[in-house]
């Protein structure tokens, strides 16, 4: 019932909300080869047989997710299984509207990054990906650009990551059974955000 729960609820609600406007052409699935070594080549290939998101779409999902939450001393989005979670939502959880929303949202992002980066996002260098996505993110959250899909996608990536085992237990702090409740402890003793 508190503000955080409301934010979480809003995040989920906005993910469920399907924008009828702004439907773009479906992803062509074509990729262009670039000069720099594509960062996503280091990523696992996702088999898409029987799944909704295609191999190319999954490559984009992985590249975006890993750029949002990269591998540091702890797991990044890919190691934490975020792309699979998003494939699960698209393939098993969502309805046709949700699938359309994801497909067109990804296609919009792909088109944008191809325009500004000269080649497909997945083919760009890690550095370029980070720089272009940072700029795009700043524009969206700074109010310069409207992209509800991107906000929802980022929120879903974060949710999938921080609910994952490495995200919850290594990156953040998680206690399945805290046992005690202490209302006021030194942050120095518990420096990491609680996962839930």
């Amino acid at each position: 019932m508190d503000n955080l729960m409301m934010q979480r609820r809003d995040a989920i609600k906005s993910l469920l909300a399907i924008s009828a406007a702004g439907a773009l052409a479906a992803c062509t699935g074509k990729t262009e080869s670039g000069e720099s070594k594509p960062a996503a080549s280091a990523s696992p290939k996702f088999a898409s047989a029987g799944k909704f998101l295609s191999t190319d779409e999954m490559a984009l999902v992985s590249a975006l997710a890993q750029t949002i939450i990269p591998k540091t001393e702890t797991a990044g989005a890919i190691e934490a299984g975020v792309p699979e979670s998003i494939q699960g939502l698209a393939s098993e959880w969502g309805d046709d509207n949700y699938r359309k929303y994801i497909r067109s949202g990804l296609a919009t992002l792909e088109k944008h990054f191809k325009t500004v980066g000269g080649q497909s996002f997945t083919a760009q260098s890690e550095k370029q990906q980070e720089s272009l996505l940072s700029k795009y993110d700043a524009d969206v959250y700074g109010g310069k650009k409207e992209d509800q899909f991107y906000r929802d996608f980022k929120s879903t990536v974060a949710t999938a990551y921080y609910m994952s085992e490495p995200g919850a237990t290594e990156e953040l702090a998680y206690e399945a059974v805290p046992g005690e409740w202490k209302g006021c402890v030194p942050l120095a003793d518990y420096p990491k955000t609680w996962a839930t």
């Binding site: 019932m1 508190d2 503000n3 955080l4 729960m5 934010q7 995040a11 989920i12 993910l15 469920l16 750029t67 949002i68 939450i69 990269p70 540091t72 979670s85 699960g88 939502l89 959880w93 309805d95 980070e130 996505l133 940072s134 993110d137 700043a138 969206v140 959250y141 700074g142 906000r151 929120s155 879903t156 974060a158 949710t159 999938a160 921080y162 609910m163 994952s164 085992e165 919850a168 990156e171 953040l172 998680y174 206690e175 399945a176 059974v177 805290p178 046992g179 005690e180 409740w181 202490k182 209302g183 006021c184 402890v185 030194p186 942050l187 518990y190 990491k192 955000t193 609680w194 839930t196």
Partner: protein
């Protein structure tokens, strides 16, 4: 020879108590539960870790299709949906242009599994309210009559809380309170100094913080601060029928729990002027069966209890059993929830909290008590909390990459939030009635839930929103938002999930359904101790009161039974 000494219709919050008390007094008790039985091993999901939750625990389409009404509840998600009814199977009607949100679960324990566990006493001020301002009828008893029964049920149920000595919110028999966060301590100090007469206290909650031998003997343990209560508790740490009253009843050897059995009507014998039993329908097989007893307690939940009695028509009671007053089904009350506010509480960057407290703070009513209320009578209390925000807040903000990850890893600012719970006045027009022709799949008449918020409730909630924002401001909060910015929209009737009042107790059989012992004026061996009996609603969460009145009524009925009066 009757099947049972006592039939209890419903195994939830109040029915569990009647069953325990009557079994312990040596009576053979049949508890008739319309829902299935549940078992911790199969139905509780409190041990599921976040990473094992399917599809990130997002509400799926099943939620929208099967649970359009229940899925709006804060306690509903993919791992709690087993405790909520499928709306399609349990239809109700709301008059054109009105709304009613009826939230419920049909299974052993009823809503005692999913309740919010906030446990507050009514005060003398509440018991006097109707008489003083002329709304509804006078309560037929006063605080001193129920106080020992509050003590009695608190000892058994286990309520954690702090002694405060407040007239508006009497102290009880408490286990140690769950301490306030540092943010809440600051909020408390600032509010209490800026507004003398207002108090911020730890929530009083039915979670064990120091279990008694009686509680541990029932297999109940200390609260582990996981905040998974709505999934059921494998530690039995919060009070429910399932963890506490039904096991105690079962230990006597006198309990028979009859699941999947819905009560269609109460059977009345005009010769003896007594209820003789209930006509039931097995919800799986549609088989009908009559079950008999000397005494009948209705604890089906406020709306279902009215449905059963309104459906129990005879020559003697043409508008429904025990309805000579014409009040049955009327005066439907709840609490209005609204007047939310939130704000960022600066400072305390070097402090944090440990564990997940399934509780928060409480601000008892001050309007029309220590301070006046403009344009409304009675008042409201608040529930709230002050925590540092986590990734769920920060991940909705700008940033990608390592910096974003680092930001989410560090606890965010302290955020304070609170929400008001306002009293709803008893009003004859707000009522439950049965549709004349429409029935559900078991042939039971479908209820019509006809209730609206009055100007008094609107004015109170408007004030709650203003007061909440002012308290946060006085505490030094920034970024204050909530009802003051978003409009003082009232939530629909039913959202408090505190339905009550449709078989009120009173001093006069002409204007009330029950006497001061929760006993029907018309039918001496018929008792009602679910929320139906409430003569006024207060603004406190009511379950603790249902427990106290249930134990008291059971004690009275047992004495009448032993005397041979019923």
């Amino acid at each position: 020879m009757a099947d049972f000494d006592v039939i209890v219709v419903g195994s939830g919050m109040s029915g569990g108590w009647v069953a325990k008390e009557m079994c312990e007094k040596g009576f053979k008790v049949g508890v008739i539960e319309r829902g299935r039985d549940i078992s911790p091993a199969e139905d509780y999901t409190d041990m599921v870790d976040p990473w094992d939750m399917e599809h990130l625990n997002f509400k799926g389409h099943e939620a929208k299709e099967d649970y359009p009404i229940q899925s709006e509840v804060y306690a509903f998600h993919s791992y709690t949906k087993q405790f909520w009814v499928k709306d399609k199977e349990h239809p109700y009607i709301v008059p054109e242009g009105q709304e009613y949100r009826w939230r419920r679960g049909y299974h052993t324990g009823g809503r005692s599994i999913m309740w919010g566990r906030q446990s507050y006493r009514f005060s003398e001020i509440d018991f006097e309210a109707n008489k003083k301002d002329g709304h509804g009828v006078d309560w037929p008893l006063r605080y001193k009559d129920i106080a020992p029964w509050y003590d009695y049920v608190e000892k058994f149920a286990g309520i954690s809380g702090s002694k405060e000595g407040l007239e508006i919110l009497p102290d009880g028999v408490f286990q140690p309170p769950q301490e306030l966060t540092c943010g809440e301590e600051v909020l408390k100090k600032k509010i209490e100094s800026a507004f003398p007469g207002r108090k911020l206290i730890p929530g009083r909650v039915a979670n064990l913080t120091a279990p008694t031998p009686e509680q541990t003997a029932l297999g109940r343990g200390k609260c582990q601060n996981r905040d998974h209560c709505y999934r059921g508790c494998s530690f039995g740490a919060y009070f429910s029928s399932n963890s506490a009253t039904l096991p105690a009843a079962r230990n006597t050897g006198n309990l028979t729990l009859i699941n999947n059995t819905a009560v269609h009507e109460v059977i009345y014998d005009p010769e003896t002027k007594r209820a003789t039993g209930v006509k039931t329908v097995n919800v799986k097989t549609n088989e009908t069966k009559i079950i008999t007893a000397r005494v009948i307690f209705l604890n089906a939940g406020t709306i279902p209890t009215s449905m059963i009695l309104l459906n129990s028509k005879s020559e003697s009671f043409k508008t429904g059993l025990a309805n000579s007053s014409g009040q049955l089904g009327h005066n439907l009350m709840d609490h209005v929830i609204g007047g939310r506010a939130h704000g960022l509480l600066p400072g305390m960057e070097d402090k944090y909290h440990y564990g997940r407290r399934a509780n928060g703070f409480y601000i008892p009513r001050f309007r029309n008590h220590t301070e006046t209320g403009e344009g409304f009578i009675r008042g409201f209390g608040y529930q709230g909390r002050v925590y540092r925000s986590n990734w769920q807040g920060s991940s909705n903000q700008a940033g990608v990459g390592k910096d974003f990850k680092a930001k989410n890893r560090t606890p965010g600012a302290w955020w304070a939030s609170m929400v008001g719970f306002a009293e709803i006045l008893p009003n004859f027009d707000n009522h439950v009635r049965l549709h004349e022709t429409k029935t559900d799949k078991w042939g039971f008449p479908i209820p019509i839930l006809d209730a609206k918020h009055s100007e008094n409730e609107k004015a109170a909630i408007r004030q709650a929103g203003i007061d909440a924002a002012e308290m946060l401001k006085a505490a030094g909060c920034t970024n204050i938002g909530g009802a003051i910015n978003e409009g003082h929209t009232l939530t629909e009737p039913g959202n408090g999930i505190h339905e009550m009042g449709t078989a009120r107790m009173g001093r006069d059989p002409k204007t009330s359904v029950l006497n001061k012992w929760n006993q029907s004026w018309d039918v001496a061996n018929l008792f009602i101790t679910d929320g139906s009996f409430m003569t006024s609603a207060g603004c406190q969460n009511p379950s603790l009161g249902y427990m106290a009145f249930s134990a008291r009524a059971a004690d009275y009925a047992a004495r009448l039974m032993k005397d041979g009066a019923i």
